[in-house]
Symmetry: C2
């Protein structure tokens, strides 16, 4: 008992109140336990975390945005200062390369994202103040004043971690307490991040109970938490089955659920593009498929290739790369099993192997990538071919001309991204446009001529999409200040006195916030006291 | 069969495909059938309406905003031109006063709302364009490209009608087809509106299938429609039980549901306000409770009154008004039964009658208003006292000082509005502030010193609130352009060529739309072609 690591509940690190067992991280390269023993939390931990987060909600909502921003900036700096240790831990627990991936890509992305959230918290454009002086009405987006429950994924130990990633940064920037259920595949990394976050919270003078951290929960307990009406929102990144179960619980309690569930991120290659640079595209596609051993939400799981010479050459070139590829190490046995089950489902629906093979390959969770192929008619007819095989497996769908490509597009479920590569010909231009029209309602981000695996942290990003890729088509999970708006409530003030209004809705606007006043954006003050006309 | 009125399905008025029966409007003043026989639609009607609306989605989404605006403006003008007939029909079917309510308040509100939607469609600020030139990303809110299913309520035959109200105007302004399930208590009014809408659609050159109208459906069929993944969104205004059933169906299919369910709209009266103007407040409260025979979503169903002399005087003055009030006519036997059941539930939970009585009173659906009383402890302990008794019944909750008032506030479920009346004293100021803090997370609109029944159609309005008053705390059902955003999907374009971008995301901005470019709002063009820096 005493050897188990503490949880962060009630504003302090303490022994799990009613641990339901323990677990350790596994080194994916050897499939052996490493590091400390972490508790599997029982109902007491979960309930105490929720009650404690609720208790902090009002105080956190009342904190000055500058203080929130100071916390986020300090936390970002602490992550950078602790980078070497964090990278070492994350590498050990995930087998992701320390360099460049963890140290040079993901860690700076995570700290940069926290700094973007800090800026957004400070400048407050996410609150979208709207003032109608004639009607005496003022409204804005405000903190939920309820906790946000975040389930972090396995695939980004820093940038999507429930204690450091976009959901965390967004929820805190909107001044809501966070209950972080981190992913049990990297508990040591998450603990280290949580320690930095907790210290930075205290240093910034934010309520200690603003952050609760649990490492592992029985799924039934996760559903209990997600379905508690005291929650302000649920954020989840992970598998479709787990996400939909949590969504059902949250829906039943009226809790808005923001989920990133699954996506096959179709890539359409047009005839001209293949003729112009088929070999280069094969390399680009292969690299995107196998980046991070395919463990990306935006991994291109489906590539749509015309029949004929250029398409055949592309498929052959890609297949050769899959054949020759070395094995990579996935996060866990569960991820590996899920990948193989996905590929088996494709096979059962008629897909044929083209290159590589996801069979076991040596020690730990090693696996080689695989490319499979199927014809358009089968893809259109059988939904199993759209099941996400999370990992380095992709499906080439062969189409006879643009009409069949359009049928494939029309058959797609909701996805995070959709990509079209066209060449310089007028025919490709025309096909590009028609495909874009078919893809547009089915994807969150429409990409022209590049692979989907790059997700910039930008206000203009949409890391979201139609169901079932996410739970709501109107929001992005990445990009500040946009992602913050998920964790806000619309608050209206009707003829409320100046000194009882939130700062961004008062007549005076000393911070220079853009506000929509009487029909347009302005930085101006309002001249009269209340209910009057604009300056 | 031939005598039944047609439905609007497939772009034209046609006989119901498989009517499951028929019904007629009832004159509420006499409880006798009036007007034509309307079909209760069966599954074929419902499915044909959905398929037809889906077929129009792409074409409507591609329509120029100016054409959408022209339709909305023309429809508004047609409603006004037909005002006399519409008012007569609505008066007959709802028993709402022809004047001032229907002719001078609600009809101009409905046409004004359509014109606001037209302006919003034209100026396009609802699309919230965001451009990051360095990242090559551009995003905006776009049509769902799927139909919006709207269930209209009984209480606003014009301004919330599924073929003319805010949900309709919002969905069309966002260029989504509408499937309108109008309320069967006013089929003639709805048919007349739908005829005007249909004609205006055709005149404006919008796809005829952009609007489908059904009058009545078996609830199971409503659930089937609401749970169809081909829907873009569900909008519902009505009772909590019906709304939650539809929400569950929509949730399971991943369809965003925007619901206005129920609200008791608590009004807190502070000691000083009562001493200064208790008699006037009693009149104000009584008038708000009984406006439209209490059939308002924002009807003040709970008034919180301090114990003591001033509070007693207020309650006595209010009770006398309820006692002396004449009966009013409600919409239907169902509404009347629901009101009585609600009052009976209050009684069962310990509430005592103070004035008036909701017993039957003469011909038709006539009822007198009623005021009941209960103490704070009972209110806090028993959720039945928060059940909405839709109609002219309110509950006075007596509190011992501000601490008990705060307990009542803290016990409240989510509501559309919360009101506090304070006097000029410093004590009231202090109490006002504390109560506002407690109410703020529990209401969508916080009102200072006026009754909640006025809902201005304003961009700064929030006709929304936390669950269970609505299904999502981040959106308003009333006010343009805000309400439009419910029916939009976030679309991102990643390095997409200029001529394949939607107009509002191109470099050139001839329409002078406000766009968030590289961190701030601007009306400017972007100087370079794509992926470059701002002008």
């Amino acid at each position: 008992m005493s050897a188990r690591e503490p949880v962060l509940v009630g504003g302090r690190w303490q022994a799990s109140l009613d641990t339901a067992g323990e677990f350790r991280a596994l080194d994916p390269t050897r499939a052996v336990e490493v590091g400390a023993a972490f508790p599997i939390s029982g109902a007491q931990d979960a309930r105490a975390a929720l009650a404690s987060a609720c208790a902090a909600a009002e105080e956190l909502a009342a904190c000055a945005p500058a203080r929130i921003a100071a916390f986020l900036d300090a936390y970002a700096a602490a992550i950078e200062a602790d980078g070497e240790t964090l990278v070492e831990l994350a590498h050990l627990e995930t087998a992701l390369p320390a360099r460049p991936r963890l140290a040079e890509v993901e860690l700076p992305r995570a700290s940069g994202q926290l700094r973007q959230a800090a800026r957004a918290a400070r400048e407050r454009s996410w609150t979208q103040p709207i003032i109608d002086t004639a009607a005496g009405l003022r409204s804005h987006l405000a903190p939920l004043r309820k906790p946000v429950l975040i389930f972090g994924p396995n695939n980004f130990p820093f940038a999507f971690n429930a204690v450091a990633g976009s959901d965390f940064a967004s929820a805190i920037a909107a001044r809501n307490p966070v209950i972080a259920k981190v992913h049990p595949s990297h508990p040591g990394t998450s603990q280290r991040l949580a320690q930095l976050a907790h210290r930075a919270l205290l240093d910034a003078g934010l309520p200690a109970q603003s952050l609760q951290v649990l490492y592992h929960l029985d799924p039934a307990l996760g559903l209990e938490l997600a379905g508690d009406a005291r929650l302000g929102a649920l954020a989840f990144t992970g598998s479709r089955s787990a996400g939909l179960a949590l969504k059902a619980a949250a829906d039943a309690a009226g809790v808005p659920a923001y989920l990133e569930l699954s996506s096959v991120n179709p890539v359409f290659l047009l005839e001209g593009a293949l003729r112009e640079r088929g070999e280069a595209l094969a390399q680009e596609f292969f690299a995107s498929c196998t980046l991070g051993v395919g463990q990306f939400c935006t991994n291109p799981g489906v590539v749509v290739v015309p029949r004929g010479e250029a398409g055949d050459a592309f498929v052959a070139a890609a297949a050769a790369r899959f054949d020759a590829a070395p094995a990579g190490t996935m996060f866990s046995q569960g991820v590996l099993d899920h990948l193989r089950a996905g590929v088996a489902a494709w096979r059962a629906a008629g897909a044929q192997p083209l290159g590589g093979d996801v069979a076991a390959d040596g020690e730990g969770y090693r696996v080689r990538p695989a490319l499979l192929g199927v014809d358009a008619a089968a893809f259109v007819a059988d939904r199993r071919l759209q099941s996400e095989a999370f990992g380095p497996a992709s499906l080439a769908v062969r189409v006879d001309g643009i009409d069949e490509a359009l049928q494939v597009a029309a058959a797609l479920e909701g996805n995070l991204t959709g990509t079209i590569y066209g060449g310089d010909s007028a025919a490709d231009d025309d096909d590009w446009r028609r495909l874009a029209g078919a893809l547009r309602p089915r994807v969150g981000r429409l990409i022209d001529g590049r692979m989907p695996t790059g997700v910039a942290v930008s206000a203009a990003m949409n890391h979201g999409g139609p169901y079932p890729s996410t739970g709501h088509p109107g929001f992005t999970a990445v990009g500040m200040p946009s992602a913050i708006r998920r964790f806000a409530a619309l608050h209206c003030y009707d003829h409320v006195r100046q000194d009882a209004l939130p700062e961004e809705l008062r007549d005076r606007n000393p911070g220079g916030l853009s506000r929509w006043i009487d029909g347009g954006w302005t930085l101006d003050d309002i001249a009269t006291k209340t209910g009057g006309t604009t300056a």
